[in-house]
Amino acid sequence: MLTRSLKIGIVCPYGWDTPGGVQNHVRDLAEYLIEAGHDISVLAPVIDESKIPSYVTSAGKPIAIPYNGAVARVLFGPIAFARVRQWIAQGNFDLLHLHEPAIPSISLLACWAAEGPMVGTFHAAAKRQKAIFAIGPILEPVIEKLSARIAVSEAARATLTEHLETDAVVIPNGIYADRYRDGIPQAQWQGNTLGFIGRFEEPRKGLSILVDALPIISRFAPDVRVFVAGPGEQKDVIESIDPQLRSRFTFLGRISEQEKANFLASISIYVAPNTGGESFGIILAEALAGGATVVASDIPAFDSLLNHGEFGELFESESSTDLAKRVIDLLRDDDRRISLGKAGKIHAQQFDWKVVADQIFSIYEMSLVGGEKVRLASDNRSWSRFIGRDHRGDE
């Protein structure tokens, strides 16, 4: 076991102050490792430099580009590359942990610029894409430098194997399970209630599927109510709801962690109708940890997170009738609903940061066996030697 304190550099490819799963993961991991006594520096694109924690170094302002069906705030270019090199040269790191090194952003630049113990985590799960196949040969020599690869889910691992022909160790994303463990049920959210948390404006979060399913659900459960938590503009969504059912919906806006715990402990069913673009499903893991019974679409990430339906009900993705059917069945069968919730809560403990960070750390240890430090790569050692010899020859 390594007991000494390590100097670890973590690179986050997306804008630090924009919401997103990768950013949350990097933040939680960095804070967990700092708590454990390690020296952590995070390099990330930052929009507002006055509001970043002390362990974050800004690599510049992110650029918004469309990627994988959403807008990604990434950063590249010569100035960013120079900053990345500078950060690596001054950091004196024992190890680099690069997130999403296959995406055109600073993680890729760091992987290009550095040499030594490096670990990469792959978050995205994408369908087979010609574009990625085309850039594969360019990425290969870069990705190859990583001493270990981590994928956050089986779906992400399959993406990696398919596109870049390389294997990865699956380590799930982490959650702070104990924050959600002891939620206090609140009367206003109890009863025949359905819950949804997330940026509901984004089509891929699938709120519209729940909206479409509600007329059927309300026929069988007339007192059903839906609570939607999360940031976003409600007007358009409310207009899309059948006027007779509008009163069933309550928008709570952004809620605190404590409220989230209480919310998850109160509602009858947590609905995750996402239609895709999800690689792990952190919110689903949190819902399970909060003891909620879950009904989720059968996209690969959720299917593997719920172990093919063992720890939550799956419905056919994008089918509001199937969703309605599953919800009604569960609302009618209290015993099954409660036992699913209990099983899910136990299952979710394996996603706790204590477990996950330990697994990540043992990967760090394995990469450190060589006893080297991170340094700037001389991508052409032999070339420089060649030139050097040339010079000597001239003299």
Partner: protein, 167 residues
């Protein structure tokens, strides 16, 4: 004249590419060494724990003998036979632990837990090592690498046929 400049430039670019490939290969060989050192260390630790288990009261005399022999073999075998003898040790450990051995003595519980943690790590170490080796093989198989002998005198890394299901 122009043609000479162009040809010279092309040759320079080509040499640059060759050195790039050589660096890449060098790095890969290094990665194989590191991943092997890691795996080797973990396997040595496992053999040590196996010996400790053999001496403890978890093992009956017959299994103790089997385990001791397997552990020594794993420790002393040469690199080419390593994977076979490690699989032998896995088998011996599996045989002993498959009976649903449960121990009440704290020292032995610690020993068994240590073994299971180590097994998890070894599983990961194997996949890291196998990945490094296959990558190296892939690059070394390139025509241009073989033609210019870019691998130099570095020996071809040995593929280890670790049977992960035995672990």
């Amino acid at each position: 004249m122009k043609i000479f400049v162009a040809a010279g430039l092309l040759i320079l670019i080509f040499i640059w590419y060759l050195t790039f490939l050589a660096t890449r290969l060098d790095r890969l060989h290094h990665r194989v060494e590191t991943s092997w050192a890691n795996l080797d260390g973990l396997l040595q630790r496992r053999a040590a724990i196996a010996l400790e288990i053999a001496r403890s009261e978890i093992a009956d005399p017959a299994s103790a003998m089997l385990l001791t022999a397997a552990a020594y073999q794993a420790r002393e075998s040469r690199i080419e036979n390593r994977s076979a003898s490690e699989s032998g040790l896995s088998g011996a450990l599996g045989l002993l632990l498959a009976d649903g051995q449960s121990s009440e003595r704290p020292a032995e519980i610690v020993l068994l837990r240590e073994l299971s943690e180590l097994t998890d790590k070894i599983r990961i170490a194997i996949s890291l090592h196998v990945d490094a080796v296959t990558r190296t093989h892939l690059v070394r198989r390139k025509f241009i690498v073989r033609l210019f002998r870019l691998a130099g005198t570095a020996p071809l890394p040995i593929t280890y046929e670790f049977e992960t299901d035995v672990l």
